[in-house]
């Protein structure tokens, strides 16, 4: 009976204790990476009886790529307009009074299915006390052009999977690459979407501010982003993953590829940007050796991610 008693105690011990809990893998990724699905109003501007409502994910403008949904509402009839020509221009004013913009869609397109104007803005920096962003929006109703502007706040993007980078290519053009998706990668094959933009240098002197010709950006077409994802952490010894696919442009104008993340943690997307002719404009080939204890060498063009 003694052993029986002991046994009962042992069983009790087993049932009541669990020394290590299983990892709640999904919750763990959620805790590190916020994922927003919902477009909410980030700012509204009014001009007379018209109200402009600009929606962004989570109702916030973040540094990096922002998809925008814009509505022009007649506040008297409470109806959305759909025939207007809408332009959108973000401008940042620095402490010294100089101004610059960021990649954006100037002429917004009406999306009839969803009932809003589609656009994007790739804010290149966060709002700080010395530098602030202002949106200049114009629309035309009944052949009358309305122009309004408003200061907005651009917040820090805490999700590193939506990081961006700005750089000068070997062709002396100013380029911008921003990650668009996935917001929340997993240890899996992830469809990777990025936007590549360049600054169109003005060819004419500046007109009245804000002169859109001075703040012109465009999507680059037909480029290729070669991808080599690696874990930069020294203990991971330049670990990489198989079956990745370089990013190429698809019909939506964005660049699509595949990144495989083999485990959670810090990753570096090492990139090489090539133009239509295969000429490398930025980026270097990184070593592929497995070097435990040594931080991985990054390409001169890279974007860090974390999940």
């Amino acid at each position: 009976m003694k052993s029986f008693n002991f046994f009962v105690i042992a069983i009790f011990f087993v049932i009541t204790s669990c020394t290590i809990d299983k990892t709640d893998y999904e919750a763990e990724i959620d805790s590190e990476v916020p994922e927003y699905y919902e477009f909410k109003e980030a700012v509204s501007l009014t001009s007379g009886i018209y109200k402009i409502s600009i929606e962004a994910l989570n109702g916030t403008f973040y540094k990096g790529y922002n998809e925008l949904h814009l509505k022009v509402i007649n506040t008297q009839t409470n109806q959305s307009l759909n025939t207007s020509e809408v332009t959108f221009l973000p401008v940042m004013t620095n402490a010294d009074g100089s101004t610059n913009s960021c990649p954006h869609q100037y002429n917004l397109e009406y999306n009839a299915a969803n009932g809003y104007y589609n656009g994007y803005s790739l804010f290149t920096s966060e709002s700080v006390t010395t530098a602030s962003w202002k949106l200049y929006v114009s629309f035309t109703v009944d052949n009358q052009k309305y122009e309004i502007n408003k200061d907005v706040s651009v917040e820090k993007q805490s999700n590193k999977n939506l990081n961006m980078t700005a750089f000068a290519g070997k062709d002396n053009e100013q380029y911008f690459i921003a990650l668009v998706s996935p917001q929340k990668p997993t240890v899996a094959e992830n469809k990777l979407v990025a936007g590549i933009y360049k600054y169109n240098k003005p060819t004419t002197p500046a007109g009245t501010f804000p002169d859109p010709s001075q703040f012109s950006y465009s999507e680059v077409t037909g480029y290729t982003l070669k991808l080599d994802p690696r874990m930069p952490e020294p203990s991971m010894g330049n670990h990489s993953s198989p079956n990745n696919q370089d990013l190429t442009q698809q019909s939506d104008g964005l660049y699509h590829g595949v990144v495989n993340y083999t485990m959670t943690g810090n990753w570096t997307l090492n990139l090489i940007m090539m133009n239509q002719n295969g000429l490398i404009l930025k980026g270097t080939v990184v070593p592929t050796d497995f070097t435990p204890g040594v931080e991985g060498v990054k390409s001169e063009l890279y974007i860090d991610t974390l999940f």
Binding site: F7, I11, K22, T23, S235, M236, N260, M263, G265, F290
Partner: protein
């Protein structure tokens, strides 16, 4: 009397069913019964009275071991690793929770809760489920019902000097005509051992606690129910061949069974059992501050199952039919910590929540064609289902691999035995499929410290298909017995790890990535020769010689194939005194496989000696034993020692056993 006759009936059945292929005249049958009964009392080798389960298994011809240290050796049956064999406890399927196979099932039992180990080679072992190499069934101790109330107990204690292993094993059983209880408890604790150069082998310590309880109640004259449980806990187990150790492993193994005997009719016994077992296995490297990367590797394995067996006998025909069904969930995680601990740790599943479900019906049939010959024919048909919850891990290397996979696993075997005077002959053949294991199918960056590669499973692997042939010939007279056995396996779609051109290592010690792939085929040949001779009435000699050869489809060597090995022993026993000595060793490993990470292992020879004395204190039978293993303190490691970790040097052992 009734109970005795029932007991005899059952014994008769189990003997004919299990050992029918060995002997068949009635006198020998009786011998078998007594031998079996004797065997049920002790799990011990000739050399050593207090052995671990591993040591006991290694005394069998067709078992060899992969060793990563002093604890939890992985048994290789017919020179094949545990994926290819089914290892069960009383027919219950249990799966280890360690991706590195640091916890073979044999590590979750203790010699004092086992009665016997039933090893079947090749497809003959398909009774417990699909297999290629065969089956190892660990039989738990179960005391029969008795007419009188009886208490039995034994206590065994001992000390081994080399690694300061101190062990205590206790058993108690109670039996009456309605109720039986068996209990056992044990604790072993060992420090690091010392090799033949008297150097300490660091990280080879262990602590193991094991207890078991079995309760049986007779529900009618011919039926009984039985509840069994084993709880095993190992702590602080070092693996010198690995970069990490075991901080804790726990297993709870439970079952409830119902047995019905029949006095007449075709069906003689039906024994059905439901079972549940849960294993936790936590590897970490907190004991290895020299490691570049701190890493945790916990694993869990939970199995529910059903095993139901019927024994049929009519005239010269007997049969066993067994239904096996189980559901297993295997989970293994790895978490690596960056040097700056404030940064995010890195996480992945090495087993991404893999469910395995198996259901199968197996049958073995025996016909006594004549007094001297017997034919056996058997087979099984199983359905194996796998589901990977986080299949996206598997998609990284195998894009688009199915999340679920169902496989059909047929098997067939046939054998013929013939006794002519003092000679006996047997031939057999078999055919069988097996499904890839969880690691082979769904493993993800499982670090193998033997060849230093990270292994990736492939959900699309084909079934491994084995074609085997076996034969044996034996001679026995009053003084001499000789038995020779051979078997040959031709295994189609042989699963093995091959270097992948893609991917890069994840574990910092590793040199590359290997994927489990199928070779077109591989072949394996095993041979053993046993002889025993009674030199004098009290002096007996035994010898064993084994040889194996394994080749892949390009005639290259397979890894972990035992080189030519031998064992010879002398055993003297007179009255209460016994002395044994044995010499065993391997020849040099000529056919090693650099491709699979092996280097050549040289020959070694080990000499062991022990003496025991039996006496009575009051009414308590007491046995005391003193002996030495590796008496000459040879420095050696075997072909299957990971990282060429040296084996234990001279080890003096003592033990004391009381039987109440």
């Amino acid at each position: 009397m009734k109970y005795i006759s029932i007991a005899l009936l059952f014994l008769g059945i189990s003997v004919t069913a299990q050992n029918a292929h060995v002997h068949h005249d009635s006198i020998k049958n009786l011998e078998e019964v007594t031998v079996k009964n004797a065997a049920k009392k002790k799990i011990e080798t000739e050399m050593k009275m207090a052995v671990s389960v591993d040591e006991y298994l290694s005394s069998s011809d067709n078992i060899s071991f992969i060793k990563r240290g002093a604890y939890a050796w992985e048994p290789l049956l017919n020179n094949m690793s545990t994926e290819r064999s089914t290892v069960t406890i009383d027919g219950m399927h249990i799966f280890g929770a360690c991706t590195d196979k640091m916890d073979p099932i044999t590590s979750y039992v203790e010699s004092n809760n086992l009665a016997a180990i039933d090893i079947k080679s090749g497809q003959e072992g398909s009774l417990h489920g699909a297999t290629v190499a065969g089956s190892i069934d660990l039989k738990r101790r179960s005391t029969p019902f008795s007419i009188e109330r009886k208490w039995n107990g034994s206590y065994q204690s001992g000390f081994e000097f080399n690694n300061k292993q101190f062990f205590n094993l206790g058993n108690v059983s109670y039996s009456s005509n309605k109720f039986v209880a068996d209990g056992s408890i044990s604790y072993r604790k060992a420090d690091n051992y010392y090799d033949g150069n008297d150097d300490e082998v660091k990280h080879s310590q262990y602590k193991k606690f094991n207890t078991s309880l079995g309760l049986a109640y007779k529900t009618s004259d011919l039926s009984s129910i039985r509840l069994d449980a084993i709880f095993d806990m190992a702590k602080d187990v070092g693996f010198p061949a690995l970069p990490m150790d075991l901080s804790l492993s726990r297993a709870l193994i439970t079952s409830a069974s119902y047995k019905q005997l029949f006095k007449e009719g075709l069906v003689r016994v039906i024994d059905s059992k439901v079972y549940f077992n849960a294993i936790e296995h936590y590897m970490d490297d907190t004991t290895r501050p020299e490691n570049l990367v701190h890493m945790d590797m916990p694993g869990w394995s939970t199995t529910y199952g059903l095993v139901s067996k019927a024994n049929i006998k009519k005239n010269s025909y007997s049969s066993e039919i067994q239904l096996n069904a189980y559901d297993n969930l295997s989970i293994a995680e790895m978490r690596m910590y960056p040097q700056d601990r404030s940064k995010r740790s890195m996480f992945a599943y090495s087993w991404p929540w893999v469910t395995t479900r198996y259901g199968g019906l197996s049958m073995n049939n025996y016909w006594d064609i004549s007094e001297k010959s017997q034919l056996s024919l058997g087979g099984s048909l199983g359905v194996n289902y796998n589901y990977s919850k986080y299949v996206e891990f598997n998609w990284i290397f195998h894009p688009g691999a199915p999340q679920e996979k169902t496989r059909f696993l047929p098997s067939l075997h046939a054998g013929y035995q013939l006794d002519i005077d003092q000679f006996n002959f047997s031939v057999g053949t078999g055919y069988g499929h097996r499904a890839p294991s969880v690691s082979e199918g769904y493993g993800y960056y499982i670090y193998n410290s033997f060849d230093r590669y990270d292994y990736i499973g492939d959900p699309n692997l084909k079934n491994e298909i084995s074609y085997e042939g076996n034969a044996s010939v034996g001679f026995k007279n009053e003084k001499l017995s000789i038995q020779g056995k051979v078997n040959y396996f031709y295994i189609q779609n042989y699963i093995i790890g091959r270097v992948l051109s893609m991917g890069s290592p994840m574990n910092y010690q590793s040199v590359g990535v290997k994927g489990y792939t199928s070779l077109d085929y591989a072949t394996l040949f095993n041979m053993s020769m046993n002889a025993a001779y009674d030199i004098l009435q009290h002096l007996h000699w035994k010898g064993t010689l084994t040889y194996a050869r394994g080749m892949d489809d390009k005639a290259g060597n397979l890894p972990f194939i035992r080189p030519l090995s031998y064992q010879t022993s002398l055993h003297f026993m007179h009255k209460n005194f016994g002395i044994q000595t044995s010499v065993n060793g391997d020849f040099a490993q000529i056919n090693y496989s650099p491709e699979y990470g092996e280097d050549q292992t040289s020959a070694y020879t080990i000499w062991n000696i022990s003496a025991n004395y039996t006496f009575k204190i009051n009414k308590v039978k007491t046995v005391v034993q003193v002996g030495a293993e590796n008496l000459l303190n040879e420095y050696y490691s075997t072909y299957a020692d990971w990282g060429n970790i040296p084996r234990m040097g001279r080890n003096i052992f003592t033990s004391l056993k009381f039987n109440f």
